[in-house]
Point group: C2
Chain length 314, copies 2
Amino acid sequence: MRAYLLGLQARIMDALDAIEAEAACAGQKGAKSIIDPWSKAPGELLQGDGITRIIEGGQVFERAGCGFSHVRGPRLPPSATQHRPELAGAPFEAMGVSLVFHPRNPYVPTVHMNVRMIAARPPDQGPGAPAHCWFGGGMDLTPYYGFLEDVQHFHRCCRDALQPFGADKYPRFKQWCDEYFFLKHRSEQRGVGGVFYDDFSELGFEQSLAMTQSVGDAFLKAYLPIVEKRQATPFGERERDFQIYRRGRYVEFNLVWDRGTHFGLQSGGRTESILLSMPPLVAWAYQRADAVDSPEAELTQRFLVRRDWLSEVG
Amino acid sequence: MRAYLLGLQARIMDALDAIEAEAACAGQKGAKSIIDPWSKAPGELLQGDGITRIIEGGQVFERAGCGFSHVRGPRLPPSATQHRPELAGAPFEAMGVSLVFHPRNPYVPTVHMNVRMIAARPPDQGPGAPAHCWFGGGMDLTPYYGFLEDVQHFHRCCRDALQPFGADKYPRFKQWCDEYFFLKHRSEQRGVGGVFYDDFSELGFEQSLAMTQSVGDAFLKAYLPIVEKRQATPFGERERDFQIYRRGRYVEFNLVWDRGTHFGLQSGGRTESILLSMPPLVAWAYQRADAVDSPEAELTQRFLVRRDWLSEVG
């Protein structure tokens, strides 16, 4: 899994670097692309290492971060053992790749993807006891201007990635995604969804791992065609203002509701890697109201709601 | 108390409107100043009303919000009764004024002030039983470029406001403020502090109320002289970039650590009023590093640390 995750991170970020290289024009300031390997100092509660990759100031991606991390800890946190009381306090190992890309053009949606595995050994059995492993993952899309065909393409890729593992997976994980990426304080979806799952081991180790890798592998085909299609769409101050305003919702979700972000920041995780998800530039304004029937109002009315995207005809 | 709070909000925001009127130049886009009274719809869990006042897009204040609210609820939330088990589940009433001002000029610090009162009647006694009342409040300053004389002026005003209520109050509440406004995930103070207190009733109702009003009354003298002194300081892109980057810390504190914000958003409070505290424009960047001995590095090294400001000689 570690080798798979490192390869996935490299594939994805190399693809973004290539897009930036192609988009860079002579005389323009190029993107800053950082590859930052880190490891936890001996003596810290969590041990482990990771690689943070991030593009900032690109022509296509204003801020695009992708983190790999692999940590070991002496005791599973209580939040991880609610459904597994037999593992309370067990030593554990966790690894994953997580990314959030904030494009510059407001017609290109923001995207999030994460795949992860946790392994724990029941504390009351010897070191030879088999470890319990479970998986989590998913990806979801957050447009500023909605295009039904983009949403359908993204969801179709999610469905196709899960199809070999049972026809129930996409509808279950699509619903789970809608329920998870919801701003309760706004009664609003974060975006148009995708798929999300957690605590997953029901297919056994091999197949649960394969399913998670299938989700990771589907990411570039789900997202890049949308980037290619929309990145050259002309936009002005109006679209830019709306984008940086809407990015505030992303910040609100991640800092107030996202369990991973919240837990990471409160438990001594690596702050700059956790906050890769923050947008490069964000605005707040009091009770912004968009004209009825404007594309801006359409976003919340027609796209940031729970819909069965794949059964709809555009 | 209600009349006092409404008057305090009016005094403070009228003062800001006057500053904006004076700063507005012919031909420039003026500040938008909103006075927005609201009330909770019948049938909602919390009942009550409030007035939200906010200036956006001003010459001096880029976003400056001040909310008055007065709500009644059927049951005190558990977070409010940790130290008062006899009041668990009691019907309550809460009122307060809370403000955060984000100036445009990076040499003018951001400021926060809050004064509040909660009253609850023990549920097992009749409606004629006396209510328990307690108070909270404080103010704190968050500069982008540090000036010792400004910090000392602000702290001196806090101390003077509390002096009539006992010499112990300023040192206790100054320390409480340092402990509360701390970003644990960055090991960094939010700003240079001020005073903060909560659950306060030890002086009895009359004197505790008087102390809280004294804190509210001290706000304009603590903050406006700093605005007047710094608002015309010339600044460029460098200072502006630093300011919008540092504002990210304000967002992180308020959305991740601030109990009031977090509780309000999660329990169905009025989102747009709670998020008055959000800055108008914010940036995140990966591991920003400022040159040693730069004024930007000086902020974190010399100002965002716990210091006994009033005993120091500039």
